[in-house]
């Protein structure tokens, strides 16, 4: 049986007509297998979905109120980085370059003392890549937040403001593929069969 066609049929990516032709082309034994897999998929679709219990919204808001209120972010600074590019070595992670009060990064004034941020530069060499980004726990695992810039020799870089004394996990996203930094000093299992690079400041 053509596994690719079987997968497309089970994924509902064939038209009705195409699906009928595919099933008709199968041997009786393969038809039996295909229908068993379709039954399995339909059963999964019917598995009961969990619904919030009474009072969920109230409990969720009670937890929300215990958390630090959000502030307009340094990401607005990150979108227009003011740092000049360093000559980043291929595939090397550089932690740079001084400490800044967040007030220097455009946040609104506040009476509270502001934590200091270290600017870390992440670098990854991928000369043939069209797009490289970093996804990490410090940006909610959102690669679109921290797109990297292509530099000389196909070295992609991005600067991110991080807190000293913290431990961060991150991955590079190279043309949609999540890649562990090969030069990270440490990595940990991500629970999904891959490994996150670890950065400790």
């Amino acid at each position: 049986m053509d596994e690719r066609s079987l997968s497309r049929w089970l994924d509902r990516q064939m038209s009705d007509e195409e699906g009928r032709k595919f099933v008709a082309s199968l041997t009786e034994e393969d038809q039996h297998e295909a229908l068993a897999l379709a039954t399995l998929a339909a059963t999964a679709a019917d598995l009961p979905a969990a619904v919030p219990s009474d009072g969920f919204a109230g409990r969720a808001m009670a937890r929300v109120r215990t958390r630090r209120p959000p502030r307009r972010s340094v990401w607005s600074w990150l979108r227009a980085p003011a740092l000049s590019p360093l000559a980043a070595a291929a595939g090397v992670l550089l932690v740079a370059a001084g400490a800044f009060g967040l007030a220097h990064l455009g946040s609104p004034p506040s009476a509270r003392p502001r934590p200091m941020a270290v600017v870390a530069r992440l670098a990854y060499r991928a000369p043939l890549a069209r797009e490289v980004a970093v996804a990490a726990d410090f940006n909610g695992w959102k690669p679109e937040v921290a797109r990297m810039r292509r530099g000389e020799g196909g070295v992609w870089t991005v600067e991110v403001p991080l807190s000293p004394g913290q431990r961060y996990e991150y991955m590079f996203v190279v043309d949609g593929q999540w890649v562990t930094d090969p030069n990270a000093p440490a990595s940990v299992e991500d629970g999904f069969g891959g490994r996150n690079a670890v950065l400790e400041l």
Partner: protein, 189 residues
């Protein structure tokens, strides 16, 4: 297209709520909880295989999202951003080894009305599938559940997990084949 218009309305409402919260109105986040609470509970319960833990993780995801609202960039879909946080909460929970070996309660049993024999067979298959899905490796379990049980499209799963669509298709298909082998005669109908 009504679906797209509805999504636009939700998206606009989310953006408005985010702006109000960032202006200091914490209580505006309640509208985010109302709009997305059910979806998050369903998602988390699927991923960890337990309704009560799913609800706990959904609450945690909402709280983390609240504190991180400043890092959400408007061009990325809010719902996908929220779901990604929830997925990572589940991932952290599973990584910590807290998941029970046997699958937990996922929800109320569907009501049985007619054809009791068929209902019994379906329920047996559903229960067996629930058990076997919980035994899959995390990457396969996640892809299978999001596609077949949550009914998400591949590009939506990609937006939440960061896994490429091609890799997701392979994972889902391999998961189906593994489950087929594990369930044997139960799916021969």
């Amino acid at each position: 297209m009504p679906g797209a218009a509805f999504s636009d309305v939700i998206d606009t409402a989310d953006r408005d709520a985010v702006e109000r919260v960032l202006d200091g109105d914490t209580e505006s986040f309640a509208s985010v909880v109302r709009r997305h609470g059910s979806g998050l509970v369903s998602l988390c319960a699927r991923l960890v295989g337990d309704r009560h833990q799913g609800e706990e993780l959904a609450q945690e995801a909402l709280a983390r999202a609240y504190s991180s609202l400043g890092s959400w960039r408007g061009e990325a879909g809010f719902r996908h951003w929220l779901y990604r946080i929830a997925r990572n909460c589940c991932r952290d929970y599973l990584k910590a080894g807290a998941r029970a070996e046997s699958p937990g309660d996922l929800g109320d049993e569907p009501a049985t009305e007619r054809n009791p024999e068929r209902e019994l067979a379906d329920r047996q298959l559903g229960s067996a599938l629930h058990v076997e899905v919980a035994r899959l490796a995390p990457a396969y379990r996640e892809a299978f559940l999001l596609f077949h049980a949550q009914g998400m499209a591949y590009d939506e799963i990609h937006a939440i997990t960061g896994v490429s669509v091609a890799a997701l298709k392979v994972r889902v298909h391999r998961a189906r084949l593994m489950l087929r082998r594990a369930l044997g005669n139960l799916v021969d109908g």
